[in-house]
């Protein structure tokens, strides 16, 4: 009896040990790459072929496919590097970065948000790369203004990838507009008129009162609100007034915007449930032909039109961006420089290594490599037509082989890499959308607090902002009036808002 019990026990313990044992034997590429970065980099001058630089990168994965390493290998060849890329699904990216940070397991390069890492940067955890940039042929082309917005205490620690600055505009049913004899709206009267007619004048001609003008969703920033707000002339998050920096909701233009939405809601011109509508459902309203207009990212129009035409082959969309408000043309600029590629000192031990990594990034900005990483291999992922690229139609292949790299590894962009190809768009809608996105650059309003820091904001900013967002919805739905809104603003001030104003104003005056 005793023997049997003991042997069973032994078997179980051995099984456990085996399980734990087999796991130790498997590859740990991550540990290998980041713990011995210096080994292969020691070169002697006599060796003509330098050993490839090992670089580990952690970045977000925003495709649904596991990235193939085809492009990775090509880049390695061209830049004489050995890349170890850690892809992290976007939703858990922050957790993973923090865990890596806390355990000293950060890779050599990773994409991080400045707000999160500011204090770590101040604590000398990262390399200041700003001073080296001018020594590199391509890196020196990076835009000074953008880099300045990314400074921490006057120094630059990050590389950035160019993002379009302002992509929002007005997307609407062209066929409906034509039927009703309307042109693209150029000011608020025409905008309101079009939306009204889309709702009440039976634009789809089926004699039923089943359409609405605008479809919106609960997101106040990427939904319609912020865009319409800038058209009204509201500052971009913060604006200057009487020598102070004040938040946008303390400006009369913000109130005007709220009133505009309130009117749309009361008159049934906007989907009644927009405060609880998701982006999917918002798009659905356009796709199923219930709504006539969508205010958001203009390039989205292409996807919308594709899906719309599957339901209604005759429907067409159009885009427009110049809606003139009381203060002329204005559009909010996406914060360029909220995040960038950081270089932790825990993974990069010497300046020598850092320079090698910067060399790699410099090469990424050379036209040849930049085109490779942005567009792929000519003939496979794209073809050149009149000097512009026409992407391969196989979306899935692009998602797998190209998109992860072009979206999350590349740096710089069209304005900083001369020689970088531009896309040739066959679809006139896409062409127009992209052109208008460029046109938006003419009347951008930027966010003055982007390069500044307010400690109180870091602590309670998000919570306070939620209060204001809630109040905005309440106002639009008619649950509170202007006095009620003002009461919330007063509470915002009392609960820490005033401090934030003071801190930002001080920092702003100091840097100017």
């Amino acid at each position: 009896m005793k023997k049997k019990k003991f042997s069973t026990f032994l078997t179980i313990v051995t099984a456990m040990a085996l399980l734990a044992g087999c796991s130790n034997g498997s590859d740990n590429p991550q540990q290998g790459a980041s713990s011995n970065p210096t080994q292969n980099n020691k070169q002697t001058e006599e060796v003509t072929q330098e050993a490839p630089t090992k670089i580990s990168i952690m970045t977000r994965l925003h495709t649904a496919e596991v990235p193939s390493d085809k492009l990775e290998k090509l880049i390695e060849e061209k830049t004489n590097t050995e890349l170890d890329i850690q892809w992290v699904p976007d939703s858990t990216y922050n957790d993973k970065v923090n865990a890596a940070f806390a355990t000293g397991a950060l890779p050599m390069v990773f994409n991080g948000e400045l707000n999160t890492f500011r204090s770590a940067i101040r604590d000398d955890q990262f390399w200041e790369i700003g001073k080296y940039l001018k020594d590199f042929a391509h890196l020196s082309n990076l835009n000074e203004n953008v880099l300045r917005n990314m400074q921490v205490d006057g120094k630059v620690y990050t590389l950035y990838a160019e993002r379009p600055l302002a992509r929002s505009g007005f997307i609407f049913r062209k066929d409906w507009a034509e039927k009703l004899g309307l042109d693209a709206p150029t000011n608020f009267e025409e905008l309101y008129d079009m939306l009204y007619q889309f709702t009440y004048n039976d634009p789809d001609g089926n004699n039923k009162n089943d359409t609405i003008g605008l479809t919106d969703r609960s997101d106040m920033i990427y939904g319609a609100f912020k865009t319409v707000s800038s058209w009204h002339g509201t500052p971009n998050y913060w604006g200057e007034k009487d020598g102070q920096l004040l938040p946008e909701f303390m400006f009369p233009q913000y109130i005007e915007t709220m009133k505009f939405f309130k009117k749309l809601h009361q008159e049934g011109i906007i989907n009644q449930d927009f405060p609880v509508t998701s982006k999917e459902d918002q798009r659905n309203l356009m796709i199923t032909g219930k709504a006539g207009a969508y205010i958001g990212t203009m390039p989205d129009a292409v996807g919308l039109q594709t899906e719309l035409q599957k339901v209604n082959a005759e429907a067409t969309l159009d885009v427009f961006n110049r809606i003139e408000g009381p203060e002329g043309f204005k559009i909010w600029m996406a914060t360029q420089g909220g995040a960038g590629f950081l270089f932790p000192k825990s993974a990069i031990k010497t300046e020598e290594e850092l320079l090698k990594i910067l060399t790699f990034y410099d090469q990424l900005m050379s036209p040849e490599v930049a085109n490779l990483i942005t567009w792929g291999v000519e003939g496979e992922h794209y073809t050149l037509v009149d000097g512009r690229t026409k992407a391969n139609e196989d979306q899935k292949m692009l998602d797998r082989e190209l998109k992860p790299y072009s979206g999350a590894i590349a740096i710089g962009g069209l304005s900083t890499i001369p020689g970088l190809y531009q896309a040739k768009w066959e679809d006139p809608l896409k062409q127009k959308a992209e052109e208008l996105v460029m046109d938006n650059v003419d009347f951008l309003i930027d966010n003055p607090v982007a390069p500044l820091e307010s400690l109180t904001f870091n602590e309670v900013g998000a919570r306070l902002q939620q209060m204001i967002n809630d109040a905005t919805f309440h106002f639009i739905l008619g649950e509170i009036d202007e006095a009620g809104f003002q009461a919330v603003v007063d509470k915002w001030l009392a609960d820490g808002g005033q401090k934030i104003i003071d801190e930002y104003t001080e920092a702003y005056n100091a840097s100017n």
Binding site: S23, E280, S406
Partner: protein
């Protein structure tokens, strides 16, 4: 088995069946909607919000998902992890639950308290990450199993079942000279198939749903289990990624509605079919024969 043939009993039965049918319908319909939707064309989905039987049957969504081996491989990983993990967890749980079910075990109360304490207090993500890293489990399949091997909840349930077994069984076995291991293996386990089946199901579902641990502990994308891939697809389908210009240089088109539904079907159907197989263990009076015999 003689059944009650009285009127009251018949009415009871009828009402019961009607109510259960309604409940069954209410729970089934949303899933049928998703299941049908995965086989419907985009056009039809957009037109009619609610499709139960598609007029145009299509495999497009599934073809899209399986066109690369990403999903198949991830499924393989999930199946492997689920099978190995469930077995491993079962062994640990049965052993510990049995030991703790003996009322005369010294220190029993203390140990139970310590176990329950862990259900309430958690050191957090980073310390767990550190432990897993120090054990060398990063980037291994074992990282998906060992750190989540024992569920205190499952342990407590199983212990409770063992505790409720009639004492007479073990007494008579002890008199015949059987030791604890023998009793456990020969008597207790065969009699506890209902709870073992139940706990296996709980563990299997837990392992099948592994997401967070996979993303945190595994860097090699080829080792990702199915939930990671599927969640990416669903998030992309909600079309949110096109907006925030902090990343995503080029527009990534969202997969269509039908694909999102196919994803749900793929993620849940495998584990769904497990329960009916386990149901055969839920037979009544399993215990009776052994007491009488």
């Amino acid at each position: 088995m003689t059944y009650d043939k009285s009127w009251g009993s018949k009415i009871f039965d009828s009402v019961n069946i009607i109510l259960l049918s309604i409940i069954g319908l209410v729970t089934l319909i949303p899933f049928v909607y998703v299941f049908a939707g995965s086989f419907t064309t985009v056009a039809e989905l957009a037109e009619k919000q609610f499709v139960i039987i598609p007029t145009q049957f299509t495999f497009e969504a599934y073809r899209y998902i399986f066109s690369t081996n990403t999903v198949s491989r991830a499924m393989g990983v999930s199946v492997g992890v689920t099978l190995a993990g469930t077995l491993f967890s079962l062994i640990l749980t049965i052993l510990m639950a049995y030991g703790l079910s003996k009322r005369d075990l010294v220190g029993r109360r203390l140990i139970m308290f310590l176990v329950i304490f862990t259900m309430l207090f958690n050191g957090g993500l980073i310390p767990s990450f550190i432990i897993v890293k120090e054990l060398g489990l990063i980037d291994t399949y074992a990282a998906l199993i060992i750190p989540s091997a024992l569920s205190a909840f499952n342990l407590i349930i199983m212990r409770n079942f063992f505790q409720n077994l009639p004492e007479g069984l073990e007494e008579s076995a002890k008199i015949d000279g059987a030791g604890s291991w023998n009793i456990l293996l020969r008597i207790v386990i065969p009699l506890s198939m209902p709870v073992i089946a139940t706990i296996s199901l709980f563990y299997a579902v837990g392992y099948w749903n592994t997401y967070f641990q996979a993303v945190m502990y595994i860097n090699d994308v080829t080792k990702w289990p199915i939930q990671v891939i599927l969640r990416q697809i669903v998030i992309l389908a909600s079309a949110l990624t096109g907006d925030t210009s902090d990343f995503g240089g080029d527009y990534v088109a969202p997969p269509e509605q039908g694909i999102k539904m196919a994803v749900i079907v793929i993620a849940t159907v495998p584990i769904l079919v497990v329960y009916p197989f386990l149901q055969k263990h839920f037979t009544k009076g399993a215990m009776l024969g052994s007491i009488k015999g």
